[in-house]
Chain length 447, copies 3
């Protein structure tokens, strides 16, 4: 074993990790590639390397380019702290703060960006390799990728509240196999993780918050999992998005506001959204779009209430209350055993005066919606200046609230041959009883 | 990068980690704090440090005090072995044992304790910081905190079986954000983890057993997760306890006896207890107390059977069999798709001769209890002297057992407007049919 | 702290890790054992050690024998890449491949095997210790165990497609407590993990694929968990198998083809198979055999479709379509809230022309099958030469398909007193209505 395969960015002789960790890591990868020049020596292969990032601040000016398999990049601290809260504290109070920035093993993404560049040019870690086999077993673990600042988007929002800056944490351009992203922190990036054409991907136990979008699985993919993460996107983006995936397992995630959606599936089939806790300030929490079929949505907790924090009051995702907290355009999906809480001030419902829709079937057929529980409470909005105190207060407010009317399940004209069981009393289920099978939840006192 | 941010307790020049690791870690933290004296240098922050604890025995005489963010303390081995089994082996057999103590990266908590001190004084790791922002991203990973011994509690129990010693593993006193506790081991502590006012906390993949209480989330909190742990408290305490939390996700835990409760929620709202396996020797496995509302309890496996191990025969948690394995005092909760097994010797039921209650609704309204399966088996108690052999035998005993009568759902006088579907045949559901909606599970042969 | 407890296989003076890592690790374990010669010095114990395996290729000629508690073996990369795909690429194309072998911290299992040796002789890591206490807290983390090649099995299959080679990754022979297997990779082993008599075992977040069988829990056991793994066995073996276990939690796994079964329980009680995504090419995906009782099977996604990849066309597991995707011989189990998709070309159904069975109850009584959704689609088989492209295409194919008839639940003559609710319309549920309770799913237009 002549040379180590364990690299440390702080001791590598090329570059200065504090000033440009991208240059340092690219130099290390070049060294790994040099050592992998032999395709196969008998049954020996190209085992790769681990690159360690001790706790510290590391500016990244040069994007890291990864084109070798079996590379693990690991830090010693996900380093999340809320930049959103800090930037909404008046600047004159900053000297009184204990700290201003995220920490841990912290990559400060400081790539020079020009208008019109492709989104991938703003990626701190850019992974691409064509040919066969697909690039495999690249692992990211235990460090923080911080986009530092958001930028003005032309709206009235303060620049630091726009969730826009052209930066991406990890961008995978080509088909890949058995990647892992574990125990990472992502903050203040327009896109945290964007991965095309994933097979057997695992995104597990990360902290991904205050990013425009958090997880985007684009192109196509199969047999992957997004599990046990703490996630919360910005109001323009998705917390979890997947396109043309089959066999995706989305489970055990705690998805907090304020994403435009918590989970958005576009043409996704035979996948699971089970056992997640999801919280949103807008309709459209889970969207199964574009013919998404045979998916299972079970044992999830859906909570939609209202934005309690002053800086984002009045911001929405453009959807009204007829859209549904769960909206399905597709066939043969299962919606079983979920809890839905709609906790809003009826005066804020749009269009004014309607009964909000909770589950909306807009197209397709053969969906099975059974044994779901719906709670609708009238709670006047009570905004506050502290992000977390206002949110906790709102979360715990149940006592004085009264119920109000909702449509628990709405089957639109474009959807038929669905089965709806025990998911709302008769008046709450809007569906053509001739073209759908409906058994309403028994009402109290009705035998 | 002039100095490393990776510290090793065995090479730090101050103190002797073998004799007092607390002194060593506090000295390291002081060094970290010194290096964090600049609030912000442009966009550079205070990234923190990682403190490594190699495998070994480390006595802790001085409590560690943590008041800096972005600190990671990591060991290389959770080190659990059963002290409970060992202490119940006759001392004359100890020389024949392979080992007597837990191991791994093992902290031996040996803090001098006096009567009347606050509980927090017995904490091996004490975290506190007031002001803004809340202390963030403190991580504990991969080591063992061992309380060594329990002490007499005035009862007839042997001292090592009391679960009392005034010691706590990790105690967090102030509001905090994005903490992580992963892959740790906790054993023989009166309290393993006590955390006040948590936001986005993750307690994941730990081994927490033979502690008085395991996880206590006190004060208030939100958007946290307790996932994929192996947990088992003592008969006086809670395996998982939360107070005034919203959006808490408790999932994928395997909770074994003998906690007074497996999960106890006090004023908790909009949270999930889903997909756990829970096993207890007493009623009151899951308790939703004090107005806990809009929680989802789904896809869990509940097993209540009888204490099979001789040293704890006759010990209980003070609740009788009318209390319910699941007891709810609160509104708008969902209980969907759970399996309940009540496997007891009817002669041991208290009050004598009653049909035990499985799900009890004692107060509140609007709860939805649907599609739960209840199994009640009469299995004579067969105690044994080996902790695990007796338990495995009991777990696997099903063949010769007969059924007996239970009340699957009992709606007390203080609770109304609940919906109970397919959760027991008509005679098993005790509820006022005028003030609740009940659809009994169809009986065999009844069409 | 006189000597370190952290060992590195590349710097240990005995042996050469590149040529025989087994010799090196055994020498390290001997050193650990020497240092553990004192049973207990007051409250000091035998804390163990961590053995680090940096990324690299390590041949293993000598099996590692582990007989000490508190040993952690850790690598820096699970290193999976598909050997199955590579071996099915024509050899003349191999020079154009980026890499031929798995990587990461890679153990190349190269044990000389003779006919007639016990299976345990082919284990790379063999764990055994009798006496008390049970061996505890052995941890495997973050490395790759590669069996290199499969061997001819006498069939027409190419040698590399047989899933046979007599090699096992980790074999535990004796009763054990609190073991952990995390973030590992296993590939091209006949048996990846075989563990007897486990208590509080955790197998979490691993990549176990292209092995004959993946996880086998034999003998007996309790209170263990198999969570959040990516798993896929060969057509002869089990992805997850357990025998005489109680309180086992199998959750959040993504189980892909082509195992003969996804989960097979033999005499298992009071356990959970919840919230998994499972995909198979054959009937018999989940089997509860031999009196398995009181288990919960909930919120799972079952997909059975047809083998799309040319090399394995025509291979099966010997079960016909009357066997059931889920087959239960046992009592008091719960099957709640699952989604089943049967997507096959009816011409391939065997016996020819039958309606395939989805859930089959063959023996026992008191099972509860409720609120399950069944989708049956007629999709002509369209095999392809690329393993993942063909699979993704098949996974996403839903649009043009028509439905066909299935038996959603079949209660055989040996099973009675079951309850079947909302799990198929009347004609789809084959059960004696006198000895079982059946409430069919309402049909469309039927009020």
């Amino acid at each position: 074993m002549p040379r180590t395969t364990r690299y440390d960015v702080t001791t590598w002789p090329v570059g200065d990790a504090a000033e440009d960790i991208g240059e340092v890591i690219n130099s290390i990868i070049a060294d790994v590639r040099d050592r992998q020049s032999v395709l196969g020596d008998g049954d020996r292969g190209k085992p790769g390397a681990v690159i360690a990032i001790p706790p510290g601040d590391y500016r990244l000016r040069t994007p890291v380019r990864i084109d070798v398999s079996f590379l693990r990049i690991e830090g010693s601290g996900h380093g999340f702290t809320s930049s959103s809260i800090r930037f909404n504290v008046p600047a004159e109070e900053w000297p009184g703060l204990h700290e201003l920035w995220p920490g841990g093993s912290r990559i400060m993404v400081d790539i020079p960006l020009r208008e019109g560049l492709d989104e991938s040019c703003g990626a701190a870690f850019f992974v691409a390799r064509s040919g066969s086999p697909r690039i495999s077993s690249v692992e990211f673990s235990g460090f923080c990728i911080d986009g530092l600042h958001f930028t003005p988007d032309g709206s009235d929002l303060a620049a630091e509240n726009t969730y826009v800056n052209g930066k991406t944490g990890i961008y995978v351009a080509d088909a890949n196999d058995s990647f892992r992203i574990n125990e990472m922190g992502f903050v203040y990036l327009e896109h945290a993780i964007t991965i095309h054409n994933a097979d057997a991907l695992s995104i597990h136990d990360n902290f991904i918050a205050e990013c425009g979008s958090c997880i985007e699985l684009r192109g196509w993919g199969q047999a992957s999992k997004v599990t046990d993460n703490l996630i919360g996107a910005g109001f323009k983006g998705h917390s979890i998005y997947a396109q043309n995936h089959g066999g995706l397992l989305v489970t055990a995630n705690n998805v907090f506001p304020r994403g435009a959606s918590s989970v958005h599936f576009d043409g996704v089939t035979r996948s699971s959204i089970t056992n997640n806790r999801m919280h949103s300030f807008y309709p459209g929490m889970v969207v199964l779009a574009n013919g998404s079929a045979e998916n299972l949505i079970a044992s999830n907790h859906f909570l939609r209430d209202s934005e309690p924090w002053t800086p984002f009051q009045g911001v929405g995702n453009g959807r009204d209350d007829l859209f549904g907290l769960l909206s399905i355009d597709g066939s043969n999906n299962s919606v079983i055993g979920n809890h839905f809480s709609e906790v809003v001030d009826p005066a804020t419902v749009r269009p004014h005066g309607v009964a909000p829709t909770i589950v909306s079937l807009t197209g397709g057929s053969g969906n099975y919606v059974a044994t779901n529980h719906f709670v609708a409470l009238d709670v006047p909005a009570a905004p506050g200046d502290s992000a977390f105190a206002a949110q906790v207060d709102a979360l715990l407010a149940t006592g004085a609230s009264a119920g109000f009317s909702v449509t628990t399940v709405n089957v639109g004209a474009g959807s038929d041959h669905n089965t709806i069981l025990d998911s709302g009393v008769d008046a709450e289920v809007v569906a053509d009883r001739d073209t759908n099978a409906v058994r309403a939840t028994p009402g109290v006192g009705v035998r």
